[in-house]
Symmetry: D3
Subunit: 227 residues, 6 copies
């Protein structure tokens, strides 16, 4: 449940070794490795193609049209952190731009995931500061109402606890609970190894129907071939 | 009407000569040449700019969250084919990724049009395997329910019969019935020739008002010029 | 209020000096300089990244599926103008393509803002003719019903009067009333100067909390730090 | 594929006995009886609760903002017919109101299904003339461009051929091909009988888990009960 | 253009006689009588069926998540007024509920049109206080930022000046400029009279094709009847 | 974080006395009493007007197009429970209809909240079994993939733990954590008492401006009255 007006200073970030391992994988692989959970809704899109990030979450809870808490969050950032910003209502205002990005980067943050709007995307792209958002909007925000920093938030349909690992790329954003990070990294590794072999087979012309032994189950399910 | 649990093996692909001719044109030209019919809804977007394809359709009917039939479709592909995947419900899951793309390409397919989600878009872009979809999502799918391959489908509001010619580019996706392919290609050719002359005139400063003789009809319709 | 069937020939374009000054700024800065008004809704997106324009508006009022008035508008264009097209209903048809762009450019127009669809985006990108639209669609339009040219329009939620200054970039589209152009340009200049200093401070690690003196107000508002 | 500018006068309406039988069932039952195909997208909503209709389709193909073909369709109506109107583009204009409803009713039509907008909904409700639409809008339409009557159309994602049976109620709209009407009616009957028995069992407290023998398959699939 | 932080006390309300006349008509008729302009987007829906209102507008400009100005507006209300509330960004929060409705009614207001959210809809329905909104949401709002009262606003795509006549019913919301109110009322009257005769003819079985003399124009346009 | 393939049998339902107290309030009041948190997104709408429910949650996690877990959930229901169903992807299929409602009611459940589709709404309305959903659709679902019952879920943007109190009415759906139920009930009571007095004052013509002492803060914020 959301808490308002609170900043947690000491959060338990996921084990750096697990974060490092996870950073080698894309969201699709991690999502599968987690058992297909933890994915944000597909309206979350990167502001430029090819962006990728992986790091522990510092969470922010915003009100519509108000980015006061982003400034409060800046102080809580450590090198490698990813800011994850949720909002108490649907809102596309530009909560974040190049000034905040400059501040976040100075603190070591590697990117932002926000279920709201972002602006100055040309500057952010030039800076190489990646943002996943639901909208791009030049509309600025006020600083009037308390939200929170480092509380559990629901962002684009996914639960994010401070310190959880956030992985984002062209396919979207996935969240790995801090406690599961090492285990998911291993599962992802296994999966990836597995995929290389499959890719080679498929490239040589072997069909998935045969590689995955699907012909029997399809026949059982009643599939009919006609001419 | 949709049929479930059926794979048609022998389909009548559009005449290759007509397909080759059509491949010279963009969707806007082809859509006009067809009398402004056959266009998919504009939510169908390419995963990278500049993508273009033209080829006969192998159709797939999917269920939400289930890509079993994509594997069945792979076996039916011939060089030059375009896979067109419809879904029985609105769904943004990632039905297709780099493994299936590897398989489809090994069979000769030149691209995918899917009224659903796609993933691994960075890899697909690197491979140069074009996809038009309504969403991008890391979310994987199961293999549990029979759909069909090579039945008539409604994809993004357009009817597609197996063998129809599918043309897709930055402006969207258009479908030409196999039987009309040659005639539409000719109409497109005529139109294009026509356009070059118009473009030159307009570039020289001639107004469409004069080139299309619109001043009379506008006056008749009651247009008033004021200062 | 909309007027139909009218073309105003003599419009008062914003002062060219003010337009030139405004052209140095992005939409986020101008929007702030205006007191956070005049912004179009964020569904207005450029057809290619990095596009930017600034110029006086020639307005067009269209009916769904009908681009007749675009041709009427072409005659009213002067070098440096931006065409702003509104529609009497939500519609995503491709009202504009490379032929009209050729004509608009021949008349000196620098770009288009349309609350509707556009097509030939590959050609428009190659031409470097920027368009902000709510959709991309190959679907063409007819020429049957009178709209208007150079009347006040509501475009994507913003009021645009002929001659107003339109600024558009990757963050969206903002409209500055002609009479306020000089004053807004000055405010933007002041703001920008101000921002450079702030950016340097933030880059050096100073927090917005301190730079903007937020700690007191946050405490007063009741913000609690916990461990 | 759409045809423009055509009115087919002699269409083969589904067998009246089958239509009568089908009229006893709701859309959910009919959709299941058809093997879960033929359903329109869920954006199609009735203008008042409790509406229900069943009858053979007279189809109309409209252009955005233009209802000329609705008048052409009126002449083709026979008692018991349902008008099904598709549009060549997404459009929410009010193509239909109480005057057309008066005309359609005078010809014997029992309702309208339109992938567009409708107006005069208070009058239509008072008349008891049911309409399923994607929008309600006071905006009127022009009469300028030819569409078609009694051609195959795609309406809200479903294919409708003239004479097909259209069933609509609070749950949506389903289309039964004329040739399958009798067979689907029988399947619906069987299903309904079946449902009454199930409903009684469930009402008495028997669980679906037991009634459908799901416990074994769930265990096999790996379901775990924890305390 | 929006002005912020301003309350205009003396506004010119439309002539009461014209308002009274207009109150006899629905939005579809008034919209036609105005030449098909002045309509809000169709996402504006009444909170209960059968609601109808007509009165001069008192306008409010809100910020997302902030209803402070609604209280400021209350003081400016006179008997018969309609409150029209626009928002500087897309927002669905519940800006208005039964307390504000009680206050507005005590001042004589007859209803609310808001391009945002509303709550307490059960109470509002019981009170018979009609509201047209784009959303229903229990989410409350703060009182922190100045908007304006009685400035020109863009509400759901329509321009509204203080004192303009707002007519709303089940088909949507239309705005008549104060200066045109009498003339539009007359045009509506003429139109309505005209419609009664048409309705009778159509009810008797006369076709629109004949009543509107459409057969000639349709033939000219190339319509083909086939069997 | 979601868990798949798990059914928790023993959940801690919120204190019945607190549930009973909370059942006297609407969602707007409860949402305020909680400090404006815990609300689902406003796309969750009741299938009939006037519906209201309050009870402890039994949660269900579904896959798109698959309602298997609804049957598993039925066994876990106790009198007074509310079923809250989330889905791993956006999906509008009809996961629930009159048969499941009969079963749920036989087990004592008082309603359903589902971030997906529902069908048989006419029957559900006749039964007085309230459902809040994001869509209505006749489309049925399969029973093939394991989800979970009584795990923490994210439903329409709100976190729901098994046993939490769910309150739903015409304004939406709000969730009260079980541990806070008593305290929120008290806060709601205080608030409601408070509101009655305010309502009387406002009804007598007192302005919110005076009742809430807003004139000072508005002047300080810079509000200007002009004539």
């Amino acid at each position: 449940m959301y808490q308002l007006g609170v900043v947690r200073r000491n959060i338990q970030r996921a084990d750096p070794a697990a974060v490092a391992k996870l950073s080698a994988f894309g969201t699709a692989t991690v999502h599968e490795a987690m058992g297909r959970v933890g994915l944000m809704r597909p309206h979350m899109r990167p502001i430029y193609a090819g962006a990728h990030l992986c790091g522990p979450a510092v969470t922010v809870l915003l009100h519509p049209g108000d980015n006061w808490m982003m400034h409060v969050a800046a102080e809580q950032l450590q090198p490698g952190d990813v800011v994850v910003a949720a909002c108490t209502a649907e809102n596309t205002d530009g909560f974040f731009g190049d000034l905040l990005a400059t501040s976040f980067r100075a603190r070591g943050a590697v990117g932002l995931v926000i279920d709201g709007g972002v602006r100055d995307v040309k500057d952010l792209t030039a800076m190489g500061f990646p943002v996943w958002s639901k909208a791009i909007s030049a509309k600025g925000t006020i600083k009037a109402t308390l939200g929170s920093v480092n509380v559990r938030v629901i962002c684009a349909g996914a639960e994010v606890n401070p310190g959880d690992v956030v992985i984002a790329d062209d396919d979207g954003v996935v969240v790995v609970p801090a406690a599961q990070a090492a285990q998911v990294a291993e599962a992802a590794e296994a999966r990836e190894a597995n995929e290389a072999a499959k890719r080679a087979k498929l490239a040589s012309g072997v069909l998935g129907l045969d590689m995955y032994d699907m012909r029997g189950p399809l026949e059982e399910a009643g599939l009919k071939y006609i001419d």
